[in-house]
C-alpha cells in the first residue's frame, strides 16, 4: 500500500505540472456544471413540474459522463508520458511489483475523477438551488443518487482500464485519446435510455448497469493487469 501511495502522489505531482491535464480536469467539470445549471435554469418559472424534472434529470446525466471522461487525460499521460520519457525501465528496476505500479497509476486517475465529479455535482446542486429558489421535488430520487454515487466509481474504473489497455499499445497521446474515448460509452447508456422515454431511471436499471459495468471492468482490468507485466512493458510496448 505504501508504494502504491508513492506512485499516486508522483502521478498527481506530474499532472499538476501538466497544463493540458490541469486545464482538462478543471475546465471540463466547470463547463459541465455551467451547462447543467443553465439547463435547469431554463425550467424556472414553469408551472409544469414534469418538464422541470425532465430538464433536471437530463442535467444529472452529465455527472455520469464526467467520471468516465476525467480519468482519460490523467491515465493516458500516465502511460504515454512514461513511454515518451523512457522512465518505465528505471521505475521497474525498483522493488515495486507490477500490480502495485498498476494500482498506483489506476488510483491516481480514478480518485481525482471521483472527487471532481462529486464536487461538481455538489456545486451544481447548490447553483440549481440558488437559481430555482430551491430544488424541485422528485428530482433527487434514490435511483439518481445511486447512479451518481454508485455507478461513478465503476464508470471511472472501466474508463481507466480501457485507457491503460489502449495506451500500452499507443505510441502517442493523441492516438491513445482517440481509441480510449469509447470508454465513455457506458456513461452514455443511461442518457440513451432516459432520452428514449421508454422507461424511467429506476433502481433496477441502475442495478443492471452496475452489474454490467462490474463484469466489463473485471474483464478490462484483467487484460490491463496482464498487459502491465514488466515483461510486456519492456518487450512489447511500443
Amino acid at each position: 500500500m505504501h508504494r502504491i501511495s508513492i506512485i499516486v502522489i508522483k502521478e498527481w505531482r506530474e499532472s499538476l505540472r501538466n497544463k493540458m491535464i490541469l486545464f482538462g480536469a478543471i475546465f471540463l467539470p466547470l463547463f459541465m456544471v455551467g451547462f447543467a445549471a443553465y439547463m435547469v435554469y431554463q425550467g424556472r418559472g414553469l408551472d409544469d413540474l414534469p418538464t422541470q424534472v425532465v430538464l433536471f434529470n437530463t442535467a444529472l446525466m452529465y455527472f455520469l459522463l464526467l467520471p468516465a471522461i476525467i480519468p482519460l487525460a490523467i491515465a493516458v499521460y500516465s502511460i504515454v508520458g512514461e513511454k515518451e520519457q523512457s522512465s518505465l525501465e528505471p521505475l521497474l528496476a525498483t522493488p515495486i511489483s507490477d500490480l502495485e505500479l498498476f494500482l498506483g497509476k489506476a488510483l491516481a486517475s480514478v480518485i481525482p475523477a471521483l472527487v471532481l465529479n462529486w464536487a461538481s455535482f455538489g456545486i451544481f446542486l447548490a447553483a440549481a438551488s440558488a437559481l430555482l429558489g430551491g430544488l424541485p421535488p422528485h428530482v433527487l430520487t434514490p435511483p439518481w443518487l445511486a447512479a451518481i454515487f454508485g455507478l461513478s466509481p465503476l464508470l471511472a474504473l472501466f474508463s481507466v482500464g480501457v485507457t491503460m489497455l489502449v495506451s500500452s499499445r499507443a505510441s502517442d497521446a493523441r492516438a491513445a485519446y482517440q481509441f480510449s474515448s469509447f470508454a465513455i460509452l457506458p456513461g452514455i447508456i443511461p442518457l440513451i435510455i432516459y432520452s428514449s422515454r421508454k422507461t424511467l431511471v429506476s433502481l433496477f436499471l441502475v442495478g443492471v448497469e452496475g452489474l454490467v459495468l462490474v463484469a466489463a471492468s473485471i474483464i478490462v482490468l484483467y487484460f490491463a493487469i496482464r498487459v502491465f507485466s514488466r515483461e510486456q512493458i519492456l518487450t512489447r510496448w511500443k
Binding site: 506530474e14 505540472r17 528505471p90 528496476a93 522493488p95 515483461e231 518487450t235
Partner: protein, 305 residues
C-alpha cells in the same frame, strides 16, 4: 557477485542471449562489450530482473534470479542508456520518488548527499527537463546510486553524450569504484572500457572472450618488440635465429619481433643486432588497443547477431 549459468533469452525465434556463463567478482568494474544488437541490454535486463530468462540460472548479489527478484532489485541500481527522468518534476522530486520506492528512511538526507556529490544541488528545484544532457545523466546516475546498491548496472552511460559530458560521467564512474560495489558496464566505447574496467567480456549473443584487457591482448597477439633501425640492411631477420622468437616481420625501417618474455629476451636481441652492425635507434613494445582485439575477435567469433 554475479554468476550466470547458461543464461539464455529468446524473443520468438530470435536468440538474443545464448548460453551465457559469467562470473563477476565483488568490487570490480566489469566491462560488457559488444556491438549494437549483441544482447547486452537484454543481459542487463535479465540480471536486473526486468525480464525473465528463457533458460539458465543466475545469482545476483547472492540471490537467485526468478525466486528472489524483489530482493535482487533492492541490491542493484540500473542506469539505462536514456536517463528516463520525469521531466516536469524537479531533480530533488525525481530522486525523492525513487528513494521512497526503495523504502529509504533517510531519503531526504540521502538525496541531498547525492545532489551535492554530483554538483546538482544548486539546481535541485529546477525541472529535470531543463537540464543539459550531461546533467540529466548525472541525475540518473545519482538515482541509480541512491539506495547504495551492491551492484550497479550501467548500460551505455556515455553513448548519448558529447565528449565533454561523457568525460564528466566517466570520471564519476571512476570515483564510484569501491571494494564493496561491483559495476557492470555495458558499452561499445572501447576506449572507455579500456580505461575503466578491471575485466571485460566480449559478447555477441554468446560470450566470445573474458579476462583482463591486457591479458586478452597478450593471449591474442602475444608480446611484440619493435626495433627501430637507422639503416636496416638485408638478412637481419634470418640472422636473428633465436629459438624464443615466435615470428619476425620487417615494416619499413622497423623490425617487429614477437617474443614470449621481452624483459629477458630484448637485451639478447638488441645485442645480436648491434653485433650484426645494425644501428638501433629505439626499442619499444608494440601495444595493441582493445579496439584491435575487439575487432579481430568479433570478426572471427562467428556468433550470430
Amino acid at each position: 557477485m554475479i554468476t550466470t549459468d547458461g543464461l539464455t533469452r529468446h524473443f520468438g525465434s530470435l536468440v538474443a542471449v545464448e548460453d551465457l556463463h559469467l562470473e563477476v567478482e565483488k568490487g570490480e568494474i566489469f566491462g560488457f562489450l559488444g556491438p549494437n544488437g549483441a544482447g547486452k541490454t537484454t543481459t542487463v535486463r535479465m540480471l536486473a530482473t526486468l525480464i525473465a530468462p528463457s533458460g539458465g540460472t543466475a545469482t545476483v548479489a547472492g540471490f537467485h534470479l526468478g525466486s528472489q527478484n524483489r530482493t535482487i532489485r533492492q541490491h542493484v541500481g540500473v542506469l539505462t542508456e536514456t536517463p528516463g527522468l520525469y521531466k516536469r518534476l524537479s531533480a530533488r522530486d525525481n530522486l525523492l520518488f525513487f528513494a521512497k520506492l526503495h523504502g529509504m528512511k533517510d531519503s531526504v538526507s540521502q538525496v541531498e548527499h547525492y545532489l551535492r556529490l554530483f554538483e546538482l544541488w544548486e539546481r535541485r528545484d529546477d525541472p529535470a527537463g531543463s537540464y543539459s544532457k550531461g546533467m540529466r545523466q548525472k541525475l540518473a546516475l545519482a538515482r541509480a546510486l541512491l539506495h547504495e546498491p551492491d551492484i550497479l548496472f550501467l548500460d551505455e552511460p556515455t553513448a548519448a553524450l558529447d565528449p565533454e559530458a561523457a568525460k564528466v560521467v566517466r570520471e564519476l564512474i571512476e570515483t564510484l569504484r569501491t571494494k564493496e560495489r561491483t559495476i557492470f558496464l555495458c558499452t561499445h566505447n572501447l576506449d572507455e572500457a579500456d580505461r575503466l574496467c578491471d575485466r571485460v567480456a566480449l559478447f555477441k549473443t554468446r560470450l566470445v572472450a573474458v579476462g583482463k584487457p591486457q591479458e586478452l591482448k597478450e593471449r591474442m597477439y602475444g608480446r611484440c618488440t619493435v626495433v627501430h633501425l637507422a639503416d636496416p640492411g638485408p638478412g637481419l631477420e634470418q640472422a636473428l635465429d633465436f629459438p624464443f622468437i615466435k615470428r619476425i616481420e620487417r615494416v619499413d625501417n622497423k623490425l617487429v619481433i614477437a617474443l614470449s618474455n621481452p624483459e629477458r629476451e630484448n637485451p639478447l636481441v638488441v645485442r645480436r643486432l648491434v653485433e650484426l652492425g645494425a644501428q638501433v635507434q629505439f626499442v619499444n613494445e608494440l601495444r595493441y588497443s582493445l579496439e584491435d582485439l575487439y575487432l579481430d575477435l568479433m570478426e572471427g567469433s562467428g556468433a550470430s547477431n
